[in-house]
Symmetry: D2
Subunit: 433 residues, 4 copies
């Protein structure tokens, strides 16, 4: 049975390794034990260079960083579960993540990025949920690998091992990025400079409704996104004896929520809005002094996202003003839309079509979600390189971000095979990079 | 300097005692150290009977009881600060409070009730806030005696000491009631039976906008109240890739909040509604599965409260249904309106007019707030007795339930003097009970 | 059967007269035939001075004046039904109303004000509605005397006739005020100067839940009120092909409505808010360019009304801004709170108690409604006089302003008797004016 | 200068004809003079069969029919402006529209549909608006050809004239459909049976953002749509004296509006919602008894429209229930999504590419709007035929449905040329129908 005491570096199969990650999920910027275990795994494989923590994250560009006490609690828990002191040291304050490098002579520089954080979701307990039945359900209450990053890490390590034992001339960089779920880790990892010399870049996701045996070689439409935390501050008052003395942050919040959902669709591109978290006031008999909401806007183009965030900001400001409250907003996550390059996607497609377990290859598909891998893609594009975002299909019983999400472990091998071969071909010049 | 190590039983003045209570506030149903200290104080005075915890609370009638882990945390903290094991034992699980009895022969049975719990308010830190400047600011973060219950306990103990050393024939019962702020302790204390034989009953509050030197001998209009916790449960979904799959508890909540505030006024009596606390969802990119709000309705009559709660319930139910969510509601606080009896109020008025430091006596005033002392008043009335609710004026810089609330300590003596003399006269038959 | 061809001046009984008014109701500022008929009636009684139209209305102070074409249509209809050319001339443009004066030597100047306009209510047609069954239902579709002003005019004329045939020394002024329902006629009539010399002033209303046989001698609490028309102007757009191009006045309006109803109650006095009329947009497939709402705020004190209108204005402004719309507001009705004087109310009370058909006399009662008679009361008070607002009880099956409102015609005589005698006594000095 | 006295049948150019239509716009189901003039024009050209009014409309399938008095008023106005008695007779009650048929021997049956109604938009008056400056602005206040149907009729007549003078074997049917703007005329015209034998079908629209010189040969995505009128009925009450007695239709309406706009987007297809018209209550001092809104939902697929209308209906029902109101809804417009057939669109494309004034031909484009031409397209498809929806580009200064909408009259010739040649080729078998 997988548990926190069965570290992934000792796993004898990809399935065991994935389960070892699954059982110990950590939230964004708190991936302390995860980083430590990845360092173990990478060292077991053997690489030429390894950068950890502060060396791969430009801290001032981080978004969505939780409070110090939250980070500290996860750090202590990681320490209790055997996290390496050198890794804890390098990641102090929440600079998690690592970059592993294989350098084999002159040639292209190719990158692969996998993300490593988990979600604030309480994992399902029913017997029809494999991780529960098979004993590798999350041991960290209220946190879950509900988006497949456990599989991403496993595939990433698989690709690294394959390439470590392959002959090629060039450089391979494997980016283990923290804080994707809060869209907060992509930019600071890019700003660290490690992606500045890439000629080609691959990002990876499992699932998104594509079944096991399907590969999407180049995602077309990751939604541009901005996530915001808005805090309304008014004045509390006794709700019975002096309600008029209050400046009611609860009403400002409710008005904002209703009207954010009412922001108009746009003819040029699809739009999404969501207020996903709210916390307000203290007790029923006190007019609420403070209310905080976490919300997001997404759009099919960067321009329409700008339209959408303008409207959302207007709603927040006027809702505050309507109830005489102050407003403070902060961006907690952000990612542009950047599409895949056909040339690089074609390499993946060609490899996938040749794989025995791949039944369908799609040249492109809309993602319907957002991704801060687009920061890597934009940087690579800016420096003349090519990038593609690959979806490795996997049957998943529950939707992404839900308590019953799970993957079909058969897709792990497909992911490793297709990506390592595509990277090999790219290193060999197939994408003409 | 007052601190948790300066227990009230060792205080040499009422001011010191009040400050000792002020520095260690405990929330409703968690008044473990407070109960222990009151037992010490009562024993130091000496009484004929003393009932503590489970003997004074009918647990099935409690409302607003916090989760077990919250209660346990406060119990442990109380233990660390020296709470008596016998009191911790009697109050296990949150049956806090006590009743002290002086029996001096045949005669009327007269009760006084003071409340002992504090509020979830973060106390002010500025130098213009006396408790902060003078060093007796709350040591329990986020909890504060912001409604004067520290003064109530001090006055109650003062009255007990006065009566203990007085000659009278009859019985005096002093009720230290927990959980008034959540309107959850009045009914279970009454249901314990200790109030069944009262001929006269006094309740007490400081302030409410009446300055030091004013006494209101009989409050006319405590608002009838019902406090409710409502939880909307839908389905989470990925806000970008499958928003339509969600059943959005956040939207149900916002619609409910907006419409609860819109419930119509009533021509027959004043009304109040407030949604004072909200908590919903987990993250901006997830359609919220669950949302919880604490809200209340108050009215000038019990009939208009029934009107109001009907409308509020309708709003909650249809807001849930509108967004395809389930609704669960639970009453977390409740109190009827019961007015003061003139005959008993007149005794207080006569005493107050004779007090050197009392400048103004008002026969009645509207309270504008709610109070579960009305459960005592209703019971006393049902068994043929009389009841009055007295306001002892005190200058207070900030409003009740706000971070800068404070009292004028000069009002402590006024409270003790007026109430002990009024009770003495009532025991002597002045109210014709 | 009463109809528009049975003018009130030819009625042989008060019941006939009231029915003649009932059958031909006219909206505020369109009381052309009503004014003409009242002039006929007053001339039939005989007075010393008679002022009509422009002589009794300061037009720049009018509120709630309908559009010119609406006024013109009613004027034409009045002409068709035989309105006197001289009256039509004097009331051109909507300066309706008249003041009749009896001067009988030196002495106090006493005024009585009755209102003459009707409401935009479609009268009930059922057989249980007396006016329908008895054949004097409104002949003017969508307009109805649903607040008893037909009775007020009848009582006013009865009082005038009584006083015309009485001996007294002093002056009696009878004010037939237009546009009370829109709270738009009180102030311009006062500003005309006719009320500047009053020593005593009576206003009158039937019903308000008080049954036939009850008289309230001095209303205590007419609510202060402000009525507003708010127009939101954005941009239209095709709702399917370019929704984002719209600036949606419909959303601004809905947000405003929801939040106006949510404006907080006030501890100092009762409050009321209502959005009673809305009109927005043109068709389902066009983003609404324009939305207009008529709303009102009322309060138990003038200060609390100021609080309320501040909050309402803030809601309107920010709701417009939230949806990028322009806002234009105009006050369409307004009246302060002014209470009755005990001394004058006592005169009414004494008279009423002596009347055979009066079973109950109340010294005061809250009105729960608003009234622009308070402009008269305020002016009289300012010039050293006294004022009272009298309610003459009448059984009424439907509520005021509803399609089934009706009066008990037995109350007409009570009204005439009590008011004419109270005025006689006031002229004789009983109120010490 | 064009005016209602310059009938289109006497126009000597397409520009004059279009202006003659523009100056006299009529709303949906009130196209009495328009139908009469079209009959004149068709007769002047000469056809084999002509069906008018009741012969081309199945009245029970009509949607969005205005009240009888509105229809009667337009009918009278048409009569005053010289509408033919036989046409007025055939269109009594609002069965407007006509079908003209050219039968030239055996062969394919090909149809063209143009729509003939105008919009409730007040036309712009500024000098930068050509129709205003050039003197052919709408003479019918508040109604305007703001969507180019004046151009559609002109092009349709041009095509008819071209084909009347052409050699071909087969049948050409020209459908002049009423009430497209309310999506109410397509289905009843199809249900009349005249479209049952079509082998090929063309529909036509100008503009939609495509400039003069562009032709879209086959629109891909007319949005599926449902338009609804919802009426909330509660109880009125005096807003000051008895607000609680009301059942507030205004609040039900505002809650519905806010939440209709908040209905979630869908991942499978684009969605649109709009509340475009609202009318509620009577006066500010009366709690509104009745509120009516016109709203619509559109979606990129028929399935997503079903999702959307389910959610919208749920909002309407629960908003009514929330405020204790009754709800009545009726569908006032409806159209499915049906895409164009490539084979037929290709014929149009080929023709367009050969036209000297056509600079750009797009094989397809999303419409972003809705169209009840899709009823024709669905019927044709069901009976084995082919259909395409063509956009003839035209520069238009203002957006569709706005007061400054206008067309570039140069596009009239392009429309006639391309469509008549495409129809000729289809009759000749080019589309393989």
């Amino acid at each position: 049975m997988a548990d926190a005491e069965s570290p992934p570096a000792e796993a004898t199969s990809r399935v065991e390794r994935r389960r070892a990650f699954h059982v110990y999920p950590e939230p964004s910027w708190c991936e302390f034990l995860t980083t430590s275990r990845l360092v173990d795994c990478v060292e077991a494989i053997g690489v030429d260079e390894l950068y950890v923590g502060r060396d791969v994250i430009a801290p001032e560009h981080r978004l969505g960083v939780p409070d110090a006490d939250v980070r500290e609690r996860w750090r202590e828990r990681a320490a209790e579960h055997g996290a390496r002191p050198d890794v804890l040291d390098a990641t102090t304050g929440g600079t998690t993540g690592l970059v592993a490098v294989l350098e084999k002579g002159p040639g292209p520089v190719v990158g692969l990025r996998v993300d490593i954080d988990a979600l604030p979701v309480e994992e399902a307990t029913g017997d029809d949920h494999d991780p529960a039945r098979e004993g590798f359900r999350s041991q960290n209450d209220g946190v879950m690998h509900a988006c497949g990053h456990d599989a991403h890490m496993t595939i990433g390590l698989g690709v690294l091992a394959e390439l470590a034992s392959s002959e090629f001339s060039g450089t391979f960089k494997l980016f283990f990025q923290p804080a994707e779920e809060v869209l907060g880790g992509g930019r600071p990892m890019v700003e660290s400079g490690h992606a500045d010399d890439l000629d080609a870049f691959f990002a990876l996701h499992v699932g998104f409704g594509h079944p096991t045996g399907t590969v999407v070689s180049g995602v077309e439409k990751p939604l541009a996104i901005r996530q915001t935390r808005a805090t309304f501050t008014g004045d509390s008052a006794h709700a019975g004896s002096a309600p008029q003395a209050g400046r009611n942050a609860m009403q400002a919040m409710a008005t904002a929520i209703q009207n954010v959902y009412g922001v108009s669709r746009h003819a040029d591109a699809l739009t999404r809005v969501n207020v996903g978290r709210a916390e307000a006031g203290t007790a029923s008999n006190v007019v609420a002094e403070r209310a905080t909401i976490d919300l997001e806007a997404r759009a099919g183009t960067n321009d329409v996202l700008a339209y959408l965030t303008d409207r959302v900001d207007r709603v927040l400001e006027t809702a505050a003003e309507m109830h005489d409250c102050d407003l403070a907003t902060t961006t907690i996550g952000e990612a542009p839309r950047v599409d895949s390059d056909d040339a690089l996607a074609d390499v993946v497609g060609a490899v996938a079509r040749g794989h025995a377990d791949v039944e369908a290859v799609r040249p492109s598909a809309a993602l319907g979600a957002s991704e801060d891998a687009t920061y890597f893609m934009r940087r690579v594009r800016q420096t003349g390189g090519r990038a593609t975002y690959v979806v490795v299909g996997t049957d998943h019983p529950g939707g992404h971000h839900t308590p019953t999400f799970d993957i079909d472990e058969a897709s792990l091998d497909v992911g490793v095979d297709v990506l390592s071969e595509a990277i090999r071909r790219t290193l060999a010049g197939d994408a003409n990079c």
